[in-house]
Symmetry: C2
Subunit: 271 residues, 2 copies
Amino acid sequence: MIGVFDSGVGGLTVVKEIFKYFPQEKVFYFGDTLHLPYGTKSEKTIKNYSEKIVSWFQKENINLIIIACNTASSWAEEYLKNKFKDIYIFGMIEPTVKEVARIYKDKKIKKIGVIGTSGTIKSRVYEKKLLEINKNFKIYSKSCPLFVSLIEEGLIKDKITKEVALKYLKPLKEKNIDALILGCTHYPLIKDLIYEILGENILIINPAEALIRELKLFFENNKQIKNKKEKNHKFFFSDVPYNFEKIKNFCFNKKININFEIKNPFNEKII
Amino acid sequence: MIGVFDSGVGGLTVVKEIFKYFPQEKVFYFGDTLHLPYGTKSEKTIKNYSEKIVSWFQKENINLIIIACNTASSWAEEYLKNKFKDIYIFGMIEPTVKEVARIYKDKKIKKIGVIGTSGTIKSRVYEKKLLEINKNFKIYSKSCPLFVSLIEEGLIKDKITKEVALKYLKPLKEKNIDALILGCTHYPLIKDLIYEILGENILIINPAEALIRELKLFFENNKQIKNKKEKNHKFFFSDVPYNFEKIKNFCFNKKININFEIKNPFNEKII
């Protein structure tokens, strides 16, 4: 069983890849809809929520956990890995940076765009990690805070989303970037639009796909790990998810049935 | 001292009116930026947060409290009034409905539009309360979930916001509504745009202004109430507010200085 958490429903784009590449694995999913969005909240807050979620997963005996949210990964991936050394934690940043290193191993100058929530961009984690592997990279980061709302409203094909995308991507297009990291779980849902604006020659890097490669390697190298076995996937949200059916159908293209429970693992009291 | 709470910074549009009409009063403001937005969360969650905030205000000896958030008012105004009978609680709904009753006291058929967050519209509270005062009203409700994000991104004058507004307001324009209730604290910031789309003849009802009338009446009728006296306004947010300066400057037109503290009154533990 693979634990996956996200601030909401966006992590389903990661689940989609897990279903595709590891059909034998069951997923234990938690979307923190009670506290979403993570993208505009502070580092301290995101670390705090993420730590609580991982603690809860640990209590549920899940020892392989994916931080499907890029904002949580940006602020808390290293923090959680240091804090929970006896479980396996994968964020979105490290696999993505490794993927870029693999693609551009000749270490030539490359212009790489990164788009994400305000939190992800503000953290500058992608930027720092990418420059660590290759100082010749030119990194152009752009926060795209409206994308999540537009996608969650189901306006994926709407001209308004196209206008917003044109506005956000203009500075990256002008820089003639070679590759673009989709640093938010929602963005793969507007990949076609991004290609349309930036051209088919751009290399689009989807962190979910980079993560799959890391997971494959991990399973190959850790054949003996004791991973909790369950018969069914489990999906939990801390509050009723907004527009769940819409996003689910976008994620999985065809309609699949996902049963979920509302479960709030946080006990909130006034001090 | 008047307690004011909101899910975030939108309640500053209410504070602006309080500053204007009750310059002698000090404001104790809490924006629950840790949990925002309220607009897409469930009734249960909003009741829960609102109750905790009012409990905290009560501990701070504040006995006059304004629920500046329309979503919190929609789900929890009556609930909080019933729960905290020994303090004075004002939401946005009741004053607004009274205002409409006052304006349209001849009880003729009138077409009234209501715009708000998904939560406010889903609650149907405005609709129900308006029909209670006049069965001849025709109510046309429309949730406008992207407005808050667009405003918080500072895109008030952007053509994208205009396009979104055209899309949202089209069905209301087609119904030829007589009046429109701005059922979200952010919306007064795009009042000019709404006039531009719906025409200058529309009657725009700003709940913050309706609230001021109620408060004036309240102070006239309750001259003896023991209201906590403080020298300074106090502003608190439960997490670092996103784009605070931008919204603050929009709200107050001219630049005024607002010092705030980050204070999280919620003690959140994993169960």
